[in-house]
Amino acid sequence: MKKYIFKRSIQSLITIWIVIFVVFMLLRLMPTSGYFTRDDYLTMTEEMRQAYLKSIGVLDPPLTQFKNFIVNIFNGDLGRSITVYPRLSITTILKEKIGYSAVFGFASIVISMGLGIPMGILMARYKGKIVDNLGTFYSVIVRAVPSLIYLFLFQVWVSKIFDLPMLFYKDRPESWILPAISMSLSSIAWYAIWLRRFMVDEANRDYIKFAQVKGLSESYVMRKHVLRNAFVPIAIGIPSDLLLIISGSLIIENLYSIPGMGGLLIDSIKQMDNNLVQVLVLIYSVLSVLGVFLGDLLIVFIDPRIRLTESED
């Protein structure tokens, strides 16, 4: 096991290194005109644009820039944003934004697992009955209709019916309810539908039939055999879901005006804010790689049959 963890850590480090390097170099391949808006072309001379590029440090050789970036990261300096929030230090941006996204992301995971898993179990248990049909109907609607439509209707109508604020306010707890629920609407369906599927699959296995023939109670079989085995494929994604809560939700944050991380990566890529893109890519890739790694470890604990290395057989 220790050996496995060591090997995976090395692999992860290499993966992260490659991701950062490739993204870094790709950003440098972009034409420098991306740093300017159409208006900048009308108001700045060629020399001024050159001076500007110099001042934001993109005229140095890419490898030198990469070296500086890595050295600075190890010194704890993430640098400053260039175009998205000119001259603002990236540490400040992250400090201001991560909290919002993390809180809502976490709340959404709790809500969607809290509702989605019981819903999936019920649907599997009463397969073909009204509960199952209602659940399936909900899941299909939520997954098939473009989310913007129902999220928007949800915001307008639910806030009107319950007299809740339309936007998020830090100091008004009642305004936290709608965004947290909206963020969970589709993941509830995700948990429910997949858990149902795995459970139904599992319930048709021979060993389950055998257990039933043995006379074990239905709820015992469901809990101890079906659920436990069906949960494995779900569990593998949980660590990365938890780690990546900080990435925020673009639509929800925009709709409820939550100043979180959603859309930050997209904005920074669109506006060619190299420094910000690099840092975000670094953070997200570390978290994703770590998430997958932890997911693999987690299922070993849930399902003892799974071995990560052959030698341990």
Binding site: G34, R38, D39, Y41, L42, T43, S55, Y85, L88, F152
Partner: protein, 633 residues
């Protein structure tokens, strides 16, 4: 349990609502302005602003030397009075004494606003390291500033100019034409005679900054409310990035009697629909209304509250590519009759109605310089000069005439069988915009470049249809080309277009603002034309300091451009719809710079302003301006 919690929630909400209602009315008017912003405002660094939200924040928190009053007149702000020399090259300002900078708690700091602060502002923007993108607007105004900037830029690029950076920086006082004569006297020395210099001073680039404070905060300057100082009617009391900005009245403001709204509260709202919904629920003072929403409001109780924002100085014009890679078009565009056919063949009203369905005619503009913007000392609008008046007043759209000119052009350029003289079979490569074969025969292929933005696309298709109909389908064939990423990279820089339109802002109160940039070497000559006669006229005009003489020559130059249809101006910017409880025409009015975003003198009534009320106030306002002019102001 659940029930009691929800009752508690409801109870607190009622309390909050009640608390919000009481205590915010003074003399029948509300004293908090609740507004929104949608996009990100990147920064509030006063010298690097690029969004309306940024302008609103800075104009209300920092004052410059002068500002506009509600009639658009330049009135003293931090400068109490000023004098200038005979040829308008040296301007001396006497500052208001004992104005202090305040911090983000609204507390007076130890720093006074002095002449040095204005010098420091200019020093800040003229250092390329600070990357003030709008710098060019004034780079040819203040004496020596351009040399200073480029010397520093050269040094940064490693070019040896025989001086170190420190030496150049030290030379600032001698080389750049801005000087603090004493604590409260400031002097600008300008490159050329600039009678309209005051219209520059409402720009953020001329705003003051406290040197000691700037040194203290260094690179963090203006990245948070604590790293900026305020001398305007408000200070930033709350700043949650991408969420909420609260501006609170500055008790130490020199003109605090006229700060009638106690607090300006701006919060981020992601989309227009939410904004309107919030307004209808009474949570906002003002919100914008899109053309689609306008249709939805038709016939509802809200219809009577929807007003149209005044047009602004931004002008849309068509640029034609005189060096097109498309030989058919190149042959035609260099023919005056064909250009006239375009001029008369484009229905401006129809294009404008994509933006303003109700009053499209109101937004037509056929001159390059905006109307109601530049006035001579006799109060005559520059666009009313005899050279331009006919253009201003007549909509050139006339399909009959267009056809006539088209036929004339064909007669001159084509042989009997419709072959375009001098053009053969050829393939045209405009990269991602268009690739096609021309056959050297009529119809003429015209590449109309546009973006993938839905409104822009609609507009391009409309224009394409118009040209086909009005110039004849047998005569022209319009190819619409789409730029998917950067319009500058794909269309303008490589000149991959035949016909394209864009909007251009007008930066200061002199026709040269646009005309000088439209010369053969100017930055707005994006069609690659050569207009020597125009260049000469512009050069002649810029040297004149007598305004009437100056404007007359400029109007001649502009007439030359319009007579020869070098570019085709067709529409103004502005004119979006909005609903607001703010009484119109009370706050500073201005065509340039920041002061038009000031909330000074604003009054917020409890009901939205109706169209009727708006019209009444507008008429009254115009009457007052008329009177002012007659009194000789």
């Amino acid at each position: 349990m659940k029930k009691s919690v929800s009752w508690l929630l409801i109870f607190t909400m009622i309390l909050v609502t009640l608390a919000g209602c009481s205590n915010n009315e003074s003399g029948g008017y509300e004293d908090v302005f609740y507004g929104t912003f949608s996009g990100e405002y990147k920064t509030i660094n006063p010298y690097d602003l690029s969004s309306v939200t940024g302008y609103t924040i800075i104009s209300n928190t920092i004052d410059g030397l002068v500002e506009n009053d509600k009639y658009g007149m330049v009135v003293p702000s931090l400068a109490e009075s000023w004098t200038k020399n005979e040829d308008d090259t040296v301007w001396t300002f006497k500052l208001r004494p004992d104005v202090y900078w305040v911090d983000s708690n609204g507390q007076k700091t130890e720093y006074k606003v002095t002449a040095d602060d204005f010098v420091e502002g200019i020093r800040y923007i003229s250092d390329p390291k600070n990357a003030a993108k709008n710098f060019r607007t004034i780079s040819s105004v203040i004496k020596g500033i351009s040399d200073y900037y480029y010397n520093l830029a050269d040094i940064d690029e490693g070019i040896d100019i025989g001086m170190t950076r420190e030496e150049v920086e030290k030379s600032f006082e001698e080389t750049v034409g801005v000087k603090a004569l004493d604590e409260y006297t400031l002097e600008y020395t300008l490159d050329t005679s600039t009678p309209y210099f005051l219209s520059y001073l409402v720009m953020e680039l001329f705003y003051p900054v406290e040197k000691e404070f700037l040194n203290e905060v260094g690179e963090d300057f203006a990245t948070s409310k604590e790293t900026l100082l305020y001398n305007g009617g408000y200070y930033i009391s709350t700043w949650e990035r991408d969420k909420l900005i609260v501006l609170t009245k500055n008790d130490y403001y020199w003109d605090k009697e006229n700060i009638t709204v106690r607090e300006i509260n701006l919060q981020k709202v992601g989309d227009e629909i939410t904004g309107l919904e919030m307004f209808q629920r009474g949570e906002l003072t003002s919100c914008s209304v899109s053309a689609e929403q306008l249709k939805a409001l038709d016939g509802t109780e809200w219809e009577k509250y929807v007003n149209l924002k005044e047009k602004n100085t931004v002008t849309f014009w068509f640029t034609m590519n005189y060096q097109s890679k498309n030989p058919e078009y190149k042959t035609f565009v260099n023919n005056l009759n064909f250009r006239k056919a375009l001029l008369h063949g484009i229905d401006r009203v129809k294009i404008s109605s994509l933006y303003e369905p109700n009053q499209p005619e109101f937004f037509i503009r056929n001159t390059i310089t905006p109307e109601d913007t530049v006035f001579d000392p006799n109060g005559v609008d520059y666009t009313d000069y005899p050279n331009l008046k006919p253009y201003k007043e007549n909509n050139p759209y006339d399909p009959e005439l267009a056809k006539e000119y088209m036929n004339k052009a064909i007669e001159e350029l084509c042989s009997e069988d419709g072959t375009i003289n001098g053009v053969g079979r050829e393939s045209v490569d405009m990269d991602r915009i268009a690739k096609f074969e021309v056959d050297g025969k009529l119809p003429v292929d015209i590449v109309l470049a546009t973006t993938t933005d839905p409104v822009e696309t609609k507009k391009a298709l409309l224009i394409a249809e118009m040209l086909k109909q009005n110039l004849g389908e047998e005569n022209v064939n319009v190819i619409v080309g789409y730029a998917a990423t950067s319009f500058q990279d794909e269309v303008f820089s490589p000149m991959n277009f035949d016909l394209v339109d864009d909007s251009y802002s007008f930066k200061f109160a002199d026709p040269s603002a646009n005309l000088e940039r439209l010369t053969t070497d100017g930055s707005l000559n994006e069609g690659g034309y050569t207009v020597e006669e125009f260049d000469k006229l512009v050069e002649e005009a810029t040297a004149k300091s007598d305004l009437v003489e100056r404007y007359t020559i400029f109007s001649e130059a502009e007439k030359y451009m319009l007579d020869n249809v070098i570019i085709i101006p067709y529409m103004t910017g502005g004119g979006s719809y909005y609903i607001s409880k703010e009484v119109p025409f009370l706050t500073p009015k201005g065509q340039f710079g920041l002061t038009k975003y000031k909330m000074k003198g604003s009054k917020i009534q409890s009901d939205p302003v109706t169209v009727e009320q708006y019209e009444k106030l507008k008429a009254q306002h115009e009457e007052e301006i008329e009177k002012l002019f007659q009194e000789g102001n």
